[in-house]
């Protein structure tokens, strides 16, 4: 009888205790709420966005023509060499002189004075330079006038590897040019970079090919031995 009369008090009390115990059991910390309400994440921190990115990257890589990419790399390595190849720059200067009819008199750079016809490879390799230095030469030509200078500069600008004439001084028949050769080492890729989506590269590559399509090679490089595949450690 007494229990029957007390049931209206015991019943809510039992229910409250039941709710408290079960809630405590189900949700033991705030992170569980966050995990349930936020995006699906695995224990490794991966989420569906990353899975989608990896899927798209895989699809893109499966469509890549490896031979074409290799050819593109060779082309780019001849456009911007991976080391300070002063002899390629000199070959470009000589080629421009012969094409335009100018006479290459002297050239001088960080490897020291080198006269035409006396250049030796040992002078270039004797002094080790830091890789961040520009490849710059001061070159003296003999021209027969402004029109020939224009031709000379035109051929210099259409040379591969790329060169930049930062300064030109024509005084009578003598022309002194300050010429900078393009070069850049391969950038080592980090493991983090390989975890991002594949960049769009064709547009810029096509533009470079269009702009340099009629540029002349100064020398055949053969197959560059320092392509990134051999130089980069597989981060996986």
């Amino acid at each position: 009888m007494k229990l029957d009369k007390m049931i209206w008090v015991l019943y809510p009390a039992v229910v409250l205790v039941f709710m408290f115990v079960t809630l405590n059991f189900l949700i033991n910390d705030a992170q569980t709420w966050q995990a349930l309400l936020g995006p699906v994440k695995t224990e490794a921190g991966d989420d569906e966005k990353r899975a989608q990115m990896l899927e798209e990257k895989l699809a893109s890589l499966n469509t890549v023509n490896t031979e074409a990419v290799q050819a593109d790399l060779n082309f780019l390595a001849t456009t911007i060499p991976t080391s300070r190849q002063v002899w390629l720059l000199i070959a470009g200067l000589e080629r421009s002189a012969s094409e335009s009819g100018a006479n290459l008199e002297t050239y001088r750079g960080t490897v020291g004075d080198v006269k035409e016809g006396e250049a030796t490879a040992s002078a270039a390799v004797a002094r080790a330079r830091p890789q961040n230095e520009n490849l710059e030469l001061s070159v003296v030509y003999k021209v027969s006038g402004m029109p020939q200078l224009v031709q000379l500069l035109g051929y210099l600008e259409k040379t591969r590897p790329l060169v930049k004439v930062s300064k030109a001084i024509m005084d009578g028949d003598d022309v002194t040019l300050t010429v900078e050769g393009a070069w850049s080492p391969w950038t080592k890729l980090s493991a983090e970079a390989l975890n991002t989506s594949l960049p769009e590269f064709r547009q810029v590559l096509d533009e470079v090919k269009t702009r340099t399509g009629d540029f002349g090679f100064v020398a055949e490089l053969g197959n560059p031995t320092d392509l990134p595949v051999s130089g980069v450690t597989n981060p996986f």
């Binding site: 809510p12 989420d47 895989l58 911007i80 790329l162 980069v232």
Partner: protein, 183 residues
């Protein structure tokens, strides 16, 4: 005379010491009923919520496992294609380098070409530091004026730096110019 408990009957009236059951008030009945009903509703809602929570948790777990397996599978496939990716990224980086070099190197041949196509051909010419200088050998200043007007068609800043006259060579003038006009 009748006697009861040692006293004449009627002396003591009977006092019923038993507690008489009180009639329960209607208000209390209402409160009990309300409490039970309210508790039952709360319990029902709670059970439904817990069922939903458990169901959602189970769904999330299965999605998590699915995503995890998918990422592992994709990572393994991408590992096999890592050399290709490295090459692609190298092409992208080097293409940008080449483009930036081409954009930044200026147009010295074009500038020299324009300088040589004027009314007179300069006998000397300089290029560098964002400025160009033409050295002119003329018989009259009229020719120099014509040349500076020719330069003004293309450049905003044209300045006659020096003018010297000699009977052998005539007028030797130096004209500096810079700043392309906006087209």
């Amino acid at each position: 005379m009748e006697w009861q408990w040692g006293w004449p009957k009627g002396v003591f009236k009977m006092i019923d010491l038993r507690v008489a059951p009180k009639a329960e008030s209607e208000k209390l009945i209402r409160i009990r009923r309300l409490t039970k009903t309210f508790t039952t509703v709360i319990l029902g809602a709670y059970l439904v919520s817990v069922a939903g929570f458990v169901g959602w948790w189970w769904y999330r777990q299965s999605r998590q496992n699915f995503v995890s397996n998918k990422v592992v599978r994709l990572s393994q496939e991408l590992q096999a294609l890592a050399p290709v990716e490295v090459n692609v990224r190298a092409v992208e980086a080097r293409s940008k380098l080449a483009k930036n070099f081409l954009d930044a190197r200026g147009t010295v041949a074009e500038e020299a070409g324009y300088a040589s196509q004027g009314p007179i051909i300069p006998s000397g010419w300089e290029y560098g530091g964002g400025k160009m200088t033409a050295k002119l050998e003329t018989n009259s200043m009229e020719e120099v004026r014509a040349y500076t007007e020719y330069l003004l068609n293309r450049y905003a800043n044209v300045r006659l730096e020096s003018a010297n006259f000699s009977s052998q060579k005539g007028w030797l003038t130096t004209v500096s110019y810079s700043g392309r006009n906006k087209e």
